[in-house]
């Protein structure tokens, strides 16, 4: 998580200096952006390769910690790791997604294991991202437009407090309140999992039951993330209120509501939309702890199990997957923003 105001400021010069339509259209920009994106991906691959190899200690011991391997497997592994580093690197680049070592906890190829855990994470994170963006932006618009109002001061206070909370702690507090129950109030939400065992996931009852299970973890992540969106939306709307085109709009006799909705908000939305995409890296981080607290069987819980093992091959694969998805999200964000706002195509 980074803090909103610090994050937005440096974006402004690039937006301001980019001459409109100066260096070709959207296609050319997207091409350049894809190229640097590929460069970044290559860096992630290289980094992933060396991170787990160049550090001190016996790599065999690191890879096989907490697991009994038979002698034949060990010999095979040692032969691979004893090859020249260049050969190993080329082998790795040919197929970065096969580490040659199975997950030490599941004794299956790591990508097979990961495949089973992707879907619940996608459901949880997309629900939380959409909800937190919508609620956060709405709060930010209301607070930023009437700067210094009671609503603004209260909402800024609440969002700053939410921002200061570790997500998993918020999750545990919600669990005690709504799942375990406090005093005379019984818990009404399930304490973990995605579905009550024995229900058919595609029946009506099953779908409602899954929504019931999703409610608490999704609420936790939504509360944790909306703070940043609200703060960024507020500060970028405050910046817009100083612009002269708003004076023009008012001078035309437009109602305050229309000045806000048609002129200020569309311009102020841009940094926030960028942030929603860029935040995928932080969203992923939150998922690791929150899924653990709610026993939500996604990649976050899998990461936790891999840490506790420790299951290094699995950890390495998860690191690669998370990093690459964030790089892709960044490229998409930049191209989407460039499509909306020609000023940033530099």
């Amino acid at each position: 998580m980074t803090l909103a105001p610090a994050d937005v400021a440096p974006q402004e010069p690039s937006a301001a200096t980019g001459s409109a339509r100066g260096r070709g259209g959207l296609g050319a920009y997207a091409g350049r952006r894809l190229l640097t994106g590929v460069g970044t991906m290559f860096f992630v691959l290289v980094f992933n390769f060396f991170l787990f190899r160049l550090l001190p200690g016996d790599p065999i011991a690191l890879y096989t910690r907490g697991r009994n391997m038979d002698r034949e497997q060990l010999r095979e592994l040692r032969r691979n790791l004893n090859q020249p580093i260049g050969t190993q690197f080329i082998d790795y680049l040919r197929n970065p997604f096969s580490s040659g070592v199975d997950s030490t906890q599941f004794s299956r190829p790591v990508w097979d294991v990961i495949g089973d855990y992707v879907w619940p994470t996608v459901v949880l994170l997309s629900t939380a991202t959409v909800l937190s963006a919508v609620i956060g932006i709405a709060i930010g618009i209301r607070g930023g437009w009437k700067r210094g109002s009671t609503f603004d001061r209260t909402s800024t206070g609440i969002t700053l407090t939410l921002y200061a909370m570790p997500e998993f702690w918020l999750g545990m507090v919600l669990l005690i309140l709504f799942s375990v129950g406090v005093g005379p109030f019984p818990g009404i939400f399930p304490s973990g999992g995605t579905i009550t065992p024995g229900l058919d996931p595609w029946s009506l009852e099953g779908i409602l039951d899954q929504a019931w299970h999703l409610a608490l973890p999704a609420a936790t992540l939504t509360l944790a993330y909306l703070a940043e969106y609200a703060l960024v939306m507020r500060s970028s709307l405050v910046d817009e209120t100083r612009q002269e085109y708003l004076v023009t709009a008012r001078a035309k006799g437009l109602m305050d509501k229309l000045v806000r909705r048609r002129h200020a908000v569309p311009n102020a939305l841009l940094p926030t939309i960028t942030l929603v995409f860029l935040n995928i890296g932080f969203v992923v981080s939150g998922a690791i702890t929150v899924e653990t607290v709610f026993s939500w069987p996604g990649l976050g819980l899998l990461s936790y199990q891999a840490i506790r093992g420790p299951d290094v091959p699995l950890l390495q694969a998860i690191f690669l997957l998370f990093s690459l998805s964030v790089v892709v999200a960044n490229i998409v964000a930049d191209i989407v923003v460039a499509a909306v706002d020609p000023r940033v195509r530099t």
């Binding site: 998580m1 690191l62 407090t161 909370m165 570790p166 545990m172």
Partner: protein, 301 residues
């Protein structure tokens, strides 16, 4: 000689007077930021608590073998915040935990600021090859998601207090570097740098005597915000079991509370205090950071 002459002040004295006046002006405008003052007060309380922890509770309170209380017992007069899973006083743990959390937060921030400032100034100052390489590297590290990277590093390095500090320090600098780079570029465009270059000032002279002092205020505001993030990161890493297993921190308390069934036991007294402390300290650093930004950023006036 009997006549008193006005002794011209030395350059050093003039500088001291100017500096004192600048600090005075800064404090006058900072004092008007209510949030910033509230943050400072909260921080003072926690720093005092961390420094006096050994006087308030002897280190024996942390030993599982010396624990006298019942297991996971709610607050009583002897244990104002109840006990943990081995019968230790939660109050003593929270007070001692503040030491590790603050230490990690501040030490990691120092590392992160040093790397961020160095890379940021370097990439802004040196055009051409070195500058663009540094900028690229910053961008690369910026996109790698923080927690997965920190987890990978912590797993490979092993868990100790120093490693937690290093892991948080070396993963949280790219934001600062980007900020410092932008500021460096704007400082470098000013005439007095041209003057320094014309007079034959070398790269080191330009960067250390002209760029750095002008970038420092921004770095200062950014530092307080980074401490907040570093403390949150420490809490998260310790919760995941990647902290120092032999030291109590707020994060490791939340880890043991979670692992030992404090939730299903409804042991709110074990769960709330460390979490509320994290919220208070992180919020305080954030408030101070925002107040500093308001004071230092002319746009906000």
């Amino acid at each position: 000689m009997t006549t008193t002459t006005v002794v011209p002040k030395s350059a050093r004295a003039v500088r001291r007077i100017r500096r004192r006046a600048a600090v005075g002006r800064f404090w006058a405008s900072f004092r008007r930021e209510r949030g910033g003052i509230a943050g400072l007060v909260i921080l003072a309380v926690f720093v005092l608590l961390a420094l006096t922890a050994p006087l308030l509770f002897s280190a024996d309170h942390l030993k599982v073998t010396e624990a006298t209380g019942a297991v996971l017992a709610p607050p009583t007069s002897g244990f104002p915040l109840g006990t943990d899973e081995s019968g230790r006083s939660v109050l003593a743990l929270v007070v001692w935990g503040s030491r590790v959390s603050l230490l990690v937060g501040i030490a990691a921030t120092v590392i992160s600021m040093a790397i961020g400032t160095l890379v940021g100034i370097g990439s802004g100052h040196f055009g051409g090859g070195l500058g663009s390489v540094l900028e690229r590297v910053t961008d690369w590290f910026l996109v790698i998601p923080f927690l997965p990277l920190a987890i990978a590093l912590a797993t490979v390095l092993g868990s100790s207090l120093l490693n937690v500090i290093v892991v948080i320090g070396v993963t949280s600098w790219p934001g600062t570097a980007r900020l410092v780079r932008a500021q460096t570029l704007s400082v470098e465009a000013r005439p007095y740098l041209e003057r320094a270059r014309v007079l034959g000032g070398g790269h080191w002279h330009q960067m250390s005597r002209h760029v750095l002092p002008n970038v420092m205020p921004l770095v200062l505001a950014n530092t307080t915000l980074t401490v907040a993030i570093a403390i949150l990161s420490e809490t998260t890493l310790s919760f995941l079991g990647l902290g120092d297993p032999f030291r109590v921190s707020w994060g490791s308390m939340l880890d043991s509370a979670f692992s030992n069934g404090a939730i299903s036991a409804g042991a709110w007294w074990y769960l709330l205090p460390p979490g509320l402390c994290v919220v208070a300290v992180v919020l305080a650093f954030t408030l101070v950071g925002r107040a500093l930004e308001n004071v230092l950023d002319p746009r906000e006036r």
